[in-house]
């Protein structure tokens, strides 16, 4: 069954998302690394519009520059050419209102769960009562209430990622960037964490950009998926999923889900094979 006949929406190769306010934008972004003996074109050119409140996923083969894209959007690194804007202003350093959940476990082992979650607020000088209120909420929301006094070493990988998500959540970010946050977890935990992420997204009305190598995750969670080519990565396809806002992991059992993943794999497979053929990872 071809993707076209299945009913998945075919979207022209334009970064514009129809009729919604643009929250963050990348235009002509490229990232080049100067190595001692060569130049590495890691990314670009990238054109991307993120609509406000959108859940957008990025899938692509290894090494295509997905993480670099996230770094540029978050202000952690600067592009060699092109512009990145957030809420209308150019990105320079990490803007206020951006939260990032990294691939590696970033929970601080020397603090318990509660102190981990409260960390950013305390540094920002928020008053104690407000901190307590927000931390209690986030801890409860992420299902960590029974572990509030535990230390990360005592928790599983999934729980530690929840701590990192809670820590991001308390800062009330308007844009949440996630770099393969569930990469280290098993499939079943991933599906459940995906549901948590959707809950979070609905609750905060934030714009979410999720980087993942798992097609099913992208297809199930997002409003829109961008497919990237091999290095230097550019967007070669955008797929609208058309899901309802109150979706959860049970969409995996619908035929439409199969169509979306088929569509994603159609383009991605070609790119992934290039990586395999080159012998590098």
């Amino acid at each position: 069954m071809s993707a076209a006949s299945s009913g998945a929406k075919v979207v022209p190769l334009s970064p514009q998302s129809p009729a919604r306010e643009v929250h963050a934008q990348l235009r002509g972004v490229t990232r080049v690394f100067q190595l001692p003996t060569s130049t590495l074109h890691a990314l670009g050119p990238i054109d991307l519009d993120l609509a406000k409140g959108e859940f957008f996923s990025v899938v692509g083969p290894s090494g295509c520059g997905k993480s670099t894209l996230l770094d540029i959007l978050a202000g952690l690194s600067a592009p060699q050419s092109g512009t990145a804007t957030f809420e209308g202003k150019p990105v320079s350093g990490v803007p206020d209102g951006v939260g990032v959940v990294f691939q590696e476990d970033a929970s601080f082992p020397w603090l318990n769960v509660r102190d981990n979650v409260a960390f950013g607020l305390r540094r920002a000088g928020v008053d104690a009562a407000e901190i307590a209120r927000r931390v209690d909420y986030a801890v409860g929301f992420m299902g960590l209430k029974d572990f509030a006094s535990s230390y990360p070493a005592q928790l599983s990988g999934g729980m530690r990622q929840r701590v990192c998500i809670a820590r991001t959540l308390v800062m009330q970010p308007r844009l949440i960037l996630l770099d393969e946050p569930f990469g280290a977890l098993d499939q079943q935990t991933r599906l459940l964490m995906g549901d948590e992420l959707l809950r979070l997204w609905r609750e905060t009305s934030a714009t979410v950009l999720l980087i993942t190598h798992a097609l099913d995750e992208a297809a199930m969670l997002s409003d829109r998926v961008g497919v990237m080519s091999t290095r230097p990565g550019t967007f070669i396809d955008f797929v609208e999923t058309g899901w309802e806002r109150d979706r959860d992991s049970r969409v995996v059992s619908t035929p439409h889900f199969g169509d979306i993943t088929a569509r994603l794999w159609e383009k991605l497979r070609v790119e992934a094979m290039k990586i395999m053929a080159s012998g590098k990872d």
């Binding site: 978050a74 350093g93 990032v100 601080f108 020397w110 603090l111 540094r123």
Partner: protein
């Protein structure tokens, strides 16, 4: 606690072997455990013994303070400045494996026969391990902590004190623990051959007069001191770590 019971049994066996050894070779070669403890007790009531202890401690505390401050600072600088760290590391490890005792005459010629020579010996032994461990602590720090601090928009000072320092502290404490023991060793060896005061001197003096019980009493005192301090630091490490 069953774990500690095993260790106590081992220590008990050691005591038994010690006593057995004493009976075997005689009191002129090895003092019995009881004799050693009694001698130590007697020594601890003597004022000049305490004078020797304080002499050693003064040198040790000064040497340790210098090794600690210098080692941690140098280690952090070398850890942060990658190139400098990579260049310096093999040099430091080679210096570390040189039997420092070989350089002692040079130290004596520089500092003379006083307490500054002893402090120099101590620093010679303790500085490099603390430096290497501190450097390693920074290098081993997970990069994601730094990026988290960036995303939270922390100021450099906040980042240093609330993220980097707690992250590297356990590794630094390991280095400090080792540096502590080595600094003590350095000071003692210095006293053993180049001083007229201190516990090290007491040891070599006791060999010369053949006072076996004194030798063993001082050895016992130093062992107990070193092991106690080491255990305390290990406890501190566990407290700070939560890992």
């Amino acid at each position: 606690m069953p774990r500690l019971a095993g260790t106590l049994i081992v220590l008990l066996c050691f005591l038994v072997m010690w006593q057995g050894f004493h009976l075997l070779v005689g009191a002129s070669a090895i003092a019995s455990p009881l004799q050693t403890v009694l001698k130590l007790g007697t020594l601890l009531t003597q004022a000049d013994f305490w004078a020797n202890i304080s002499e050693t401690m003064r040198a040790f505390v000064a040497a340790f303070a210098i090794s600690l401050a210098g080692g941690v600072t140098l280690g952090i600088v070398l850890g942060v400045r990658r190139l400098a760290g990579n260049v310096a590391e093999p040099i430091l490890t080679t210096l570390y494996s040189i039997p420092k005792v070989v350089l002692y005459p040079l130290v004596l010629l520089c500092f003379g026969l006083g307490i500054s020579a002893k402090i120099a010996f101590g620093v010679m032994h303790g500085l490099i391990p603390i430096t290497l461990f501190s450097m390693n602590a920074i290098r081993q720090m997970k990069p994601v902590y730094g990026r988290t601090a960036q995303v939270m928009r922390l100021s450099p000072t906040q980042s240093a004190f609330t993220v980097i320092m707690p992250a590297i502290l356990p590794e630094i404490i390991s280095g400090v623990r080792l540096g502590f023991s080595l600094t003590l060793l350095g000071v003692l060896i210095g006293e053993m051959f180049a001083s007229q005061r201190g516990l090290g001197f007491l040891l070599t003096n006791a060999i010369n007069i053949g006072q076996v019980d004194t030798i063993m009493a001082v050895a016992l005192l130093l062992t107990v001191f070193a092991v106690t301090c080491n255990s305390l630091m290990m406890l501190l490490d566990r407290q700070v770590s939560h890992r």
